[in-house]
């Protein structure tokens, strides 16, 4: 029995996938620490950050617009019969608003953002790596990490809360349409009832976690792209694994943040 456990342990430790996983975790940690080392030193590249924020915003706008509206609409449509069964239909607007603001809005936006942006950053930096553009920058005495990575991570970190607020707004509107169609509720009453049970504390943890999600998307995409190898195959891999790793990290972080926020703000 003991022998079996030993063999299992050995197999696990020698597994290339596990080694790869730990390598990614270690590499990503070092890569992110490098960000904090570089972010506070000049030059600050404000124009690049602004340019990336605009690009990322425009890139994700169509998909988050549709998704945001549909989340609220479907959530209200699905919940209405259940709430009705328990005689709690009156709380439907609050339920939609709370679910969207506290959880669905930030997480779904982050996952869409990961799919759209992290893969894009992975592919873009990966292609720059394999075509030696990053080396060319380094040889020209320009700090490629600062110019390419820090700017992208910052842009993702700061655009993510804005996009999430936009998605939250659309989802709440979507919820209104679903409820209004079946109950004929007017907009003023819907808004009053939606926000009546929401307190300031409901906004803080979800708002803060959007910064973290944005950081994850930017850091993972940049890490995978910046370290891409093996030519065009490597670019494809960087793009795909960026989405997988960032989505996974978003969900893991969400779990930790939710637990922490319940512990820190028990009444919320």
């Amino acid at each position: 029995m003991e022998q079996d456990t030993k063999v299992e342990k050995e197999l696990l430790l020698n597994s290339p996938k596990l080694t790869e996983f730990f390598k990614t975790v270690a590499g990503l940690t070092t890569f992110s620490l490098q960000f904090f080392k570089n972010v506070f030193t000049p030059p600050f590249e404000f124009n690049e950050i602004k340019k990336h924020m605009v690009e990322l915003g425009i890139k994700t706008l169509p998909i988050v617009t549709v998704t945001g509206f549909i989340i609220g609409l479907v959530l209200a449509m699905q919940s209405q019969p259940v709430m009705q069964r328990f005689g709690a239909e009156y709380f439907l607007p609050s339920m939609v608003a709370l679910s969207v603001i506290r959880e669905l809005g930030p997480v779904i936006t982050a996952l869409i953002f990961a799919g759209r942006v992290s893969s894009g950053i992975g592919a873009e930096l990966g292609s720059m790596r394999v075509t030696e553009q990053i080396d060319a920058m380094e040889v020209s005495a320009i700090h490629p990490y600062k110019y390419l990575v820090v700017t992208r991570i910052l842009a993702c970190t700061f655009i993510m809360p804005i996009i999430t607020m936009y998605v939250d707004f659309l989802a709440i509107i979507g919820g209104f349409f679903a409820i209004a169609l079946s109950t004929g509720i007017n907009f003023q009453l819907y808004v009053d009832s939606a926000f009546k049970s929401i307190v300031f504390g409901d906004f803080i943890p979800p708002f803060l976690k959007t910064f973290i999600f944005g950081f994850i998307v930017g850091a993972v995409g940049s890490y995978k792209g910046y370290n891409a190898e093996n030519g065009t195959v490597g670019v494809g891999q960087a793009s795909t694994t960026s989405v997988v790793v960032s989505s996974l990290l978003i969900l893991l972080c969400d779990m930790v943040i939710v637990k922490l926020s319940i512990w820190l703000w028990p009444t919320t």
Binding site: M128, V139, A141
Partner: protein, 258 residues
Amino acid sequence: MADHLIKINNLSKSFGDNLVLDNISLNIPEGENTVIFGKSGSGKSVLLKCIVGLLVPDSGEIIIEGKNVLNYSTKELNQLRKQIGFLFQGAALYDSMSVRENLEFPLIRNFNFSPKEIDEKIHNVLQNVSLEEAIDKMPAELSGGMKKRIGLARTIITEPKLILYDEPTTGLDPITSKEISHLIIELEENLDVTSIVVTHDLACAQIVADRAIVLKDAKIFFEGNIKQLVSSNDEFLREFFGNEVLESNMPGKQASKE
């Protein structure tokens, strides 16, 4: 000024079990063009990347103007890099920037030129490579030869003292290759730069080389001038360059100038 701009002492570099440079020592004289030949994977490009600090060797010294660059801090290395130009094999133009932006990028970031001076420099280098009409084009709109020439323009726009060329003529037609080779030699004459050219192209070397080095099995196999190289009876060299090419006994750089 030192006689030798670069002195490389006992340089070794390996990737895992693959030893690509084994205790290499060589000197690069100032103001001369040194051409480095070798089979693919023989460590030519690795040598260039070690010189410019893109790769860190396992052991040895790279002495430029009397100082071992391997002991440089990032700041010192960047100061040195401002005096070095590097033409990459695929030109490595920044995809997201136009030709103008590619050319002004190192100038804006590393020097304090006025917009007018930058404009002048851009026009001068584009004139040097005969591609003034490409100024507002994106790299994707350029042919391979044009990309190489714009890459060369970006390399020389900062007026470096040392230029490293990584296979400047690979993938180009013979006419464009010849043009690029002549551009290299013009630069040496007009800007008084020292060059190291890594290539497989003997025709290019015939035009540009003052000195030739051949790498084989991670070591220096041949060191001498191009005449000695083409007249060599060594079996490996004859096989590497092709008997017929060597037998044609093409003229060297001096003859090409004449």
